[in-house]
Structure formats: C-alpha cells, structure tokens
Symmetry: C2
Subunit: 376 residues, 2 copies
C-alpha cells in the first residue's frame, strides 16, 4: 500500500474525468461521491453498510466534532477512523462553513472566527491554524484549508474581498499544515459567480501548489443554472493533474452536470437527510414514500435496484414504517439513496472509461421522465 497521497487521471471524455486517488488508507475512485458522517456517523447507517453501497471515502464535519466529542478526545481514542469504525479515507471540512451557518455570536476578524457552540453555548475560536490542528487531531486524510464561504448573492466588491481573505487564510493553512506524508491539504477556490475572481483565486491557490483543489462558494442558493455557468469555466482554471472537489453538491442531476464539467469529488447530506424524511431517489426521479398511494403498493422503490430496501421490501412496507415512525424507515431509505448515488458514480466512471459519457447522460435524463414517480 502506498505511503503517499497521489492522483492519477486515467481518462477523459469531454470535460468529464476518470481518475484514482491513492492514500495510505485506500483508493478513491473518481468521480467520487462522499457520504457525510457529520458527528462520526453517517446517520442511520452502519459503516460497513456505507462501504457496501460503494463509498470509498466519507466526509466528517470539523465544527461538529470539535464541539462534541472534541478533537483532543478523538485523538486520545485513536483518531476518527478507529473511533467511528471506518478505516478507509476520511475528508474533513475546515469548520468554516458550519461555523457561519450554525454557531451563535460569530465574530470574524483577519485572525479567524470566534463563536459560541450551538450545543452548549461554550466559546471557541477557529483560525487557519486551529482548523489545521483540529483536523490533524481527527486524523483526517484529506484536510480542507480554512476559508470563508462567500454568501450568495454577493456584490463583486464583497466577493473579491472575501476571496482575498480566503486566499490569505489558504496560505496560513498551508504553513500550519506543514509536511504530513500520506495526508493532503486541499485549497479552496472562491470568487462567487465572477469569472475573473475565480481566475484570480485559482492562480493564488495554484502558486501554493496544493495536492488537490476544491471549488467553494457554490450550492449556496444560486440555483443549478448559475452553478453550471460557473462550472463551465472554473474547473479548467485548476491544474489538470490534481483532483477537483465541488463542496456540498448535490441532487442527482447536479452531480451528473458537475462531473460533465470536470469535477472529481462531491459530498452532500441529501441522500441521508432525505432518507430520514421519506424521500427516495430513483432512476426515474424522486419518490415521496409518505404519499398514501404507496400504502398498498407491492412493488419495490425501483425494480432494477439491488439495495436491501429494493430487494426485500415493498413500497407498502416502506410507507408503513415511515408512517409508524420506525427507525428502519430511515435505515432503509438512507441505504437506498446512498446506493443509488454510488450507482450514478459507478455509471459515470464506466461511461467515461468507455468514452460514452454523452450517451450515458442522455439515458440518465430520459429515464427521469418515464415513471410513476411523484413530482420532485
């Protein structure tokens, strides 16, 4: 097994890329979808079940973990991998985005952000340096630079100044991260929807020579069209030979559109969160299992799906356990959704390898009109 972090670009098909990240904890096939394990668990799933869906890597949330149970505690207990029984790669975010969306009494300065915990009101600070230290304590394989996720919409001036701050923080993150063989620090491109700011950000990051780059500041309310507009140019601004990670995306068609435009990695809570609220994603679109018309339906969610929910249970059963508030409802629907998301990734990887991405994408969109599926 490799002792270092590396990325190999294996094939391209249009802008879509097939690749492989190697880490001491195992290989990540790209394009990759990373399920979110916020508080050291992918909600409603056993980690071996997450793996069974085809996930090569999980995402952990620095903000949540630093507050509860605490990064030092996790380090004493052997690190996040051992703690949560997931021995494969883990990517952690920097905490920056979650602080701005969840914490109380936030105050941002050049130095970083002070805030109070949304759990118990305790006071904390996150800076590029402390974020690197916390992610080191967690034992994260892919560490994210501490940045400010520019809100949307943002006037160009605001976006420029926010991006410039993130670039200064990226440099401080790199300096604090140091040299940790087998672990990688990713820089994060900002610049909102402004092409020249995205270019400026890409150049600033590239000069710091990160082993991977994220495209930040998207999926924050701008809508799919505006996001795709940025993705039409932003990925190509980043080095071809490094993985590109689009943060917090997305719905199935967001994911497909992002891969088509040159993105290699994504993460989103959508498959697990929707699973707990009764929404299943299928080839044919979304199914709202709460809907009374499923009450007597003997069919599976998707007769072609091989996940446990589809192999062993009817829509009628899934409807019943959802209505009865039974935990198995969230367990089965989350499993199904994660399985389906990984099937999309697998389908895209095969299509890129075969040079048939365009045909695959056409079929993906065509299937979504077909069925007897609830409107999304």
């Amino acid at each position: 097994m490799t002792r270092t972090f590396s990325f190999t670009l294996e094939a391209t098909d249009g802008a879509a890329r097939l690749g492989r990240i190697e880490t001491p904890r195992g290989e990540i096939r790209t394009p990759a979808f990373m399920p979110v394990g916020t508080a050291a668990t992918v909600k409603a799933m056993m980690p071996e079940s997450v793996r069974a869906t085809g996930a090569d890597i999980l995402l952990g949330n620095t903000y949540h973990l630093m507050l509860r149970p605490g990064a030092e505690r996790i380090a004493r207990l052997g690190g996040l991998h051992a703690f949560m029984n997931w021995e494969r790669p883990i990517l952690t975010d920097s905490g920056g985005f979650q602080v701005m969306s969840l914490a109380d009494l936030r105050k941002m300065t050049e130095r970083g952000v002070t805030f109070r915990s949304h759990i118990d009101g305790s006071k904390h600070e996150l800076t590029p340096e402390s974020s690197m230290e916390i992610q080191r304590l967690l034992g994260s394989d892919i560490v994210m630079a501490f940045d400010e996720c520019t809100t949307f919409p943002a006037e160009k001036e605001v976006a420029a100044s926010s991006m410039a701050l993130s670039m200064r923080w990226a440099e401080r993150s790199r300096d604090a991260f140091g040299d940790r063989p087998g672990h990688a620090l990713f820089g994060i491109q900002q610049g909102s929807v402004y092409r020249d700011l995205r270019q400026e950000s890409a150049e600033a990051l590239t000069s710091l020579d990160f082993p991977g780059y994220a495209i930040g500041g998207l999926a924050v309310g701008e809508g799919q069209e505006a996001m795709f507009d940025v993705l039409d140019y932003a990925p190509a601004m980043l080095p071809q030979d490094r993985p590109r990670y689009l943060m917090g995306v997305g719905k199935p068609d967001d994911i497909v559109g992002a891969v088509k435009r040159g993105v290699d990695m994504m993460d989103c809570v959508l498959p697990s969160r929707s699973g707990r609220t009764g929404q299943a994603f299928t080839r044919r679109g979304a199914v709202n299992i709460k809907n009374a018309r499923h009450a007597d339906d003997p069919r599976p969610l998707d007769e072609q799906c091989t996940c446990p929910a589809c192999r062993h249970y009817s829509r009628a059963y899934l409807h019943h356990v959802f209505r009865a508030g039974e935990m198995i409802s969230g367990m089965l629907l989350t499993w199904h959704n994660l399985h389906y998301f990984q099937q999309i990734m697998q389908g895209m990887r095969e299509a890129i390898a075969a040079g048939t991405f365009e045909a695959w994408e056409r079929e993906f969109h065509a299937a979504r009109g077909e069925g007897d599926i609830d409107p999304v």
Copy 2:
C-alpha cells in the same frame, strides 16, 4: 422440511428443559427468547441482524398491526413474513393485553372488547373469533388464544372470574382457529398468584388439547419473587410434552429463573427498548451509556462479547452517539442487547444438554457482582 408443528423435549436438568419446536418455517431451539417486532419491525434492527444474534422466532403484536397497516392489507401483501422480510417463525399475541394497556374507551363484555385506536380514534372490536381471523391474515405460525390478562393485584374472586372468562374465550379461540396444519394455537393459563386457580386453568386448557401453553398474567407488576413463586408450580401443571411460553419476560435474571423453573419460551421488549434509551445489558450487569464517566473510556461494553457494538466500538463512542442523538446509538445498543439475550439462551441450552445448569446459573450470578458496572 416438516409440514407440521411439533415439539420435542430433548433433555431436562432439574426443572429446566431443552427442546426443539419444528415448524414449516424452521426450527425454534428452546429455551427460546423471542425479540419483539411490534409494528412489523424489531425497532432499530434489520431482520438479518436480528437473525444474526441467534433469534429463531419473532413476536408480532396483533393490536398494533390490526390498526396499522391493517391485517387485511398485510394479507394482500403476502402476509407478515414477506411484508417484514422475516421468513422464519413468527408468534403473534392475541391483541388482548395491548388493548387493555393502550387502547382508548375500552368496553369488555362476554363477547369481547370494543375500543378506540390510540392512533386515530377509529372504533374496533376484538373477540376470540376476530383475533383468530386477524392472526390468520397475518400468517402467524404460533397464534395465541384471546384472553384477559388479569391485572395485579387481583382479589381471588376477581382473578377467578377473569380466569373463567379467559377459559371460555380459549375454547372459542380453539373453535375459531380450526385445523391449520403447520400452524399452532397456544392456550394461556391465568389465575394470578392463586395456585388452585392456576391448576383449574391448566386443567381447562389441557382438556382443549393445545399444541402449546402460555403462562399468562405474570410480569405485570408482581415482582420477581412473586413471579418465581408462581413459576415454582405453574409450569408443572402443564403437559410435559408441550412447549411452555412465559409472556412478556424479562430481565436477564428473570429469564434465567424462568428457564430454571421449566419455561421454554419468552419474549420481551426490554433489550430493544433499553437499547434505544442507552441501557446495555452485559454479563456483569447493566451499563448506562449516558453516564459521563464513559466519555473517555476506550474499552468495549464487554470485552468478551462478539456483537458488532463490542467488536468495533468503544464505550466512548457509544456515549458520544447517544448524547448526540444519533440513530446508530439505538442500532448498536439494541444489537448488543439482543445478542446478549441470545447468548444467555445459548448458554442455558448448552448447560441443560450437559446437565450443568446449576453451575452455569451460579456463574451467571457471580459475574454480575464483578465489574465496573453502573448499578441497575
């Protein structure tokens, strides 16, 4: 595979019995502990995981299932086994006990009980005849006679008249059940804590020649000592060649004491309910995982236990996910508890086979004083 229902008594050790129930859906090793799958799911567990703990049979609750999703609906969907993806034997209760503890506006007559659903206020009736019909629609392998569970404490007169009603209902249950090869109807002994009433009840039931008998009206608040007092004589009043089922029991030491006194089958929500509220049962006693002293504890719940919670997770992790309200907390603790309960059953079966039940029981009790365990 057998087409009929049969019980074989394979060994005895004192009053403790080792046996085997054969059904068309598989074998039930006795003494058996039946996890409770109230609403067509053992809460927080996948059925294959329940099986992996060693369960041969589940219990389903007629009252809950008739109200939601409805017995006719389950029948249309292929029966309870297919509905909930559990192909092995299922025992259903008669609904009588749950009606009296959960339903609204109950009214009992010689004919049966009318009540309103605690879920939606809809009006229903349960009689010996309708209970048999509902359990037939569910596809239950072991059907329970419709009875009145005498409340505790009960004056002797009240207990006698309640028992007499249950005996009349037992006969109506038998007549309504009819002849269903491969399925068995169990009669239920009542009589509260009165030995002569228990004897009278046993004789009434035995004259109806059931393939199995339950000991009802215990574990209803009388305490372990009073329960064991009854179990010192009640099981022996029932035919040696039929399985004896003690309903709704219990804690680990209740189970051991019951088997010692000649009980073959038990069921209880305790391992699953406790699992969801942070209580783990171990060889050494109960562990309250909420307790702050587990926050940094790298040890498993029980270093000798082979369940997934003990093989892969620290007490610190279990504490963290419980405090964070994560579903995996209930999933892991329920799995552990069900595993532990089945380990107790397996240990007792082996001890009875070897004629060493007394030594096994001594060890069981000795271990419980040992550890670093929270007081129960």
